[in-house]
């Protein structure tokens, strides 16, 4: 791919005329239009105003990952903007011109994709506007285009010392019809001024004062509050309702039956709770999901994983079946994992104000997608996009929870507001959020390896039995990608290693619970099975886990570098008595991560403590190193939490857990020391946000083996599971 963009024709036109196009790498894209006042808009991505401010559009949504700063930083670099004059504007529309190329231009913030997917587009936008200003000012001064530069919000002519602010440049007559006479050239990597710098995040000061506004914080005039009791099992509806007490309660305005719940709407939040808890509801109790319990589900998935049932091929190299048949020896193992909950600290919450005609609404929501929140509103109100006004709020954690095509927390508030013709806020209580959550799917993974007469591995076969997450949470997307489910399968491709014969396949099982993407998606469990099994293979081959991985990485210098590096980091710290270490090599998408953990185990209590984690990550060019560091640390600790504690169990369709007391997550005192190494290079930027967690579970299980000689093959490693593994 060339860094030069070919301009097909003059690309910057006055408002009212057709929007211009540029030929960019990969095709034609709408890029530019101009507004009628003296404000120039380049592709809508960036706007310079006469007061010399630069306004950069943020197309994703912010849930803690920091792309609210990192994405504008990329554009500002190419524009040579003065960062202090940059203002960041949230995109509050389902405007596919700004969509995420990693997801077919849907406005969708997931998969750690923001930086890598928007990297080139943002640079192109910044470079175009930069060169337009250079050209127009060069013409004004009657000097050569190449003799003027853009620097810190000024166009400068060095030989004469003249300079003009961006704000003045765009105010020059006929600026918007300035014709570029040479192709726009993106900066050399050595000329980056902002990319690669740890610029403080823009959202952080307000997060230290309590001023940061989340959807749950929104208050609008005349707003009412709704509290919703939901059907206990998916697919059930209200059979009978006695709402007499609720209707008689102080400040209660109305009681409304929803598709799968009942809402009490009141003037105060307190009254909505009082009313909600006074409802007497019976449910249809006819859902097929009442047949399912997590334990029997996992047992069923195990059977399917081990069966002959054909799976959808996810990735294959060589001929794994023949290699297994011809092997001198084989090894197999079954790995299983429970459902897991997002446990984001801000429960589902939304505010909406539906117009009196019921066909339009203003919505304040924290979701990972402008597109699907708009879709939800259109479906619920039976309306068109122009009647929906979104306010995309930052989220108190996303982690995949806020990605669905149909968002029932948005749906409910719209239905309530429509009914009472007033703005309404809905807040899910924590038990609602947990019991009506949608989870990382349960999975069973059957692993097989073949060996030659020297006990060297010749085949690696990975069968993942789990439902399709995409088929459930986004049927439209499933229609496009079936049978390839990246959410269920990520990690199983195992593409960093060089196998002679390898197959990973997805045996798509029946869904028994609500499921959603969850931090790390498939890699949160596929990397556990793959990397714990690699240690089993190493033992069978009689080589060290480190040496086997080095051999598998022999054609992957970037991976080899990470494994060496992480090993050096850990070797500097003497291993303490009574502790053990485990290694794993995983990553996320194109990002590679090598990790080592140090743990101790209390064998009689069945408890594991993680003391120290070393991680080496190669995510290509890093936009904001400090934020990347924070994300990787967060990912590692997410992995520790998931490994040690996190388990949703379901009994006859009902989720057993209800709050943090029976769905514990990692707390301060159990957070290990973490040392992070991030490779410095100029390769294309790749995923950061989910690169930390996939390697943690296998590294812990491998460490447990190194201490006790016993394998643990079920995630999470709660005390009952650890005791079972050790007995």
């Amino acid at each position: 791919m060339s860094d030069t963009i070919n301009i097909s024709r003059r690309f910057f036109l006055k408002a009212g005329s057709a929007a211009a196009v540029v030929m960019a790498t990969g095709g034609v894209r709408m890029l530019a239009y101009a507004k009628e006042d003296n404000t120039e808009v380049f592709a809508g991505w960036v706007e310079v105003t006469p007061d010399n401010k630069v306004h950069i559009l943020f197309p994703s949504t912010e849930m803690g990952q920091g792309s609210n700063t990192a994405l504008p930083q990329i554009l500002a670099d190419e524009l040579n903007a003065d960062w202090d004059q940059v203002e960041i504007k949230q995109l509050n529309k389902d405007d596919r011109r700004f969509g995420n190329p990693a997801f077919g231009n849907i406005l969708y913030t997931a998969g750690s994709s923001g930086v890598y997917a928007y990297f080139t587009i943002l640079r192109e936008a910044g470079a175009h506007l930069r060169d337009m200003m250079r050209q127009r000012v060069a013409d004004e001064w009657s000097v050569n285009f190449n003799s003027v530069i853009a620097e810190n919000n000024y166009i400068k002519h060095s030989s004469s010392g003249r300079q003009m602010s961006f704000g003045k440049a765009i105010s020059l007559p006929d600026f918007s019809t300035t014709a570029l006479r040479s192709p726009v050239v993106l900066k050399e990597k050595s000329d980056y001024t902002l990319i690669g710098k740890s610029i403080p995040r823009r959202d952080i000061p307000d997060k230290a004062t309590g001023r940061a506004m989340f959807a749950i914080d929104v208050r609008v005039p005349d707003m009412l509050y709704a509290s919703v009791i939901r059907s206990p099992v998916e697919g059930e509806t209200v059979e009978s309702l006695n709402d007499e007490k609720a209707r008689g309660a102080r400040d209660v305005v109305d009681v409304i039956t929803l598709p799968d719940g009942v809402a009490v709407i009141a003037k105060t939040m307190h009254a909505s709770f009082v009313g909600r808890f006074s409802l007497e509801v019976t449910w249809t109790e006819t859902s097929k999901y009442r047949k399912y319990s997590s334990e029997s589900t996992i047992a069923e998935y195990r059977q399917i994983a081990r069966s002959e049932e054909a799976g959808a091929e996810w990735r294959a190299v060589g001929d794994v079946k023949s290699a297994l048949k011809n092997a001198d020896a084989t090894l197999d193992a079954m790995y299983t994992s429970d459902y897991a909950y997002h446990a984001q600290l801000e429960p589902m919450a939304c505010v909406a104000s539906v117009d009196d005609d019921g066909k339009g609404a203003e919505i304040w929501a924290g979701t990972q997608t402008q597109s699907w929140t708009t879709h939800t509103a259109k479906e619920v109100l039976g309306t068109t996009e122009d009647r929906i006004k979104l306010n995309m709020m930052q989220m108190g954690g996303g982690f995949g929870r806020r990605t669905e095509l149909m968002q029932n927390y948005v749906r409910d508030v719209l239905l309530c507001s429509k009914a009472v013709k007033k703005p309404v806020k809905v807040v899910w209580l924590r038990p609602d959020d947990l019991k009506h959550g949608a989870f990382r799917p349960a999975a069973a993974q059957y692993m097989q390896a073949g060996f030659n007469s020297d006990n060297a591995m010749t085949a690696f076969y990975h069968r993942v039995a789990t439902p399709s997450v995409i088929a459930y949470f986004n049927p439209i997307r499933w229609g496009q990608v079936k049978p390839n489910d990246v959410v269920s399968m990520r990690g199983a491709e195992n593409k960093f290693y060089d196998f002679d014969n390898f197959t990973a396949e997805h045996v798509i099982t029946e869904r028994h619970a609500r499921i959603l993407p969850w931090r790390g998606i498939g890699a949160a469990y596929t990397s556990f099975a793959a990397e714990a099994f690699i240690d089993e293979v190493a033992a069978k081959s009689g080589v060290s886990p480190y040496d086997l991985r080095m051999k598998l990485l022999r054609n992957n210098p970037r991976g080899t570098h990470l494994l060496k590096k992480v090993s050096e980091m850990a070797n500097k710290v003497p291993l303490k008595e009574g502790r053990g270490r485990g290694i794993a090599f995983a990553g996320y998408g194109d990002t590679q991560s090598a990790g080592i953990v140090e743990i101790s185990v209390n064998e009689s209590a069945g408890t594991i403590k993680v003391h120290h984690v070393w991680i080496a990550v190669d995510a290509g060019k890093i936009i904001s190193p400090d934020n990347a560091h924070n994300q990787i640390e967060g990912g590692v600790l997410w992995g520790v939490s998931a490994s040690l504690y996190e388990r949703i169990t379901i009994t006859n369709g009902l989720v057993d857990q209800e709050n943090y007391f029976n769905y514990p997550i990692l707390r301060h005192d159990m957070a290990p020391k973490i040392e992070v190494y991030i490779a410095k290079n100029d390769f294309k930027p790749k995923q950061v946000g989910e690169a930390g967690n996939p390697m943690v579970a296998p590294a812990i299980s491998n460490a447990l083996f190194n201490i006790t000689g016993r394998r643990i093959r079920h995630l999470p490693f709660t005390s009952d599971n650890v005791k079972k593994a050790l007995s």
């Binding site: 803690g64 924590r430 709050n659």
Partner: protein
């Protein structure tokens, strides 16, 4: 009528006496820096100071705080000048940020009683407060930084 002080200002309210202090602060007083996370004293997002002591505001009704002094994150400083708030920015602690008001309120109570806590003391004191983004290690660094600044 129930009367109490929020951030030094006297409040008189005829709200239902059973209203949770957390709900009162957020939805009636408009002080949304204090967050709802679990309603079960398990997460600490709702942490405020009650007569100087850290408290889960989800566990108190307004009738229980009659005549008492409440301090919320909004009462920590005019504009984020408290050493802990400055340290939170310096160390770039927050990710999603939702738990951080509670973390700061919890840490402030620690530094008032123990101006130079050890790392272990910080971790054990802060154990009441969950951070799902897992900014735990940076929180420790920020508390240490604020402690140094406050004692110098």
């Amino acid at each position: 009528m129930i009367s109490f002080k929020i951030n030094g200002k006297t409040i008189e309210t005829d709200a239902d006496p059973d209203t949770l202090l957390l709900v009162y602060l957020r939805e009636i007083a408009g002080l949304t820096g204090t967050k709802y996370g679990c309603g079960a004293a398990m997460c600490g997002a709702c942490m405020v100071h009650l007569d100087g002591q850290p408290m889960f505001s989800c566990q108190l009704s307004i009738s229980a705080v009659q005549g008492r002094n409440i301090k919320t994150i909004e009462g920590m400083s005019e504009n984020g000048e408290h050493p802990l708030q400055k340290a939170w920015v310096e160390e770039q602690v927050p990710q999603c940020g939702y738990c951080q008001s509670g973390q700061i309120m919890r840490a402030a109570a620690l530094l008032e009683s123990n101006p130079s806590p050890t790392e272990e003391e910080i971790k054990s004191w802060m154990n009441t407060n969950l951070c799902r983004c897992s900014t735990y290690n940076r929180i420790v660094k920020a508390v240490q930084r604020a402690s140094r600044e406050m004692s110098s």
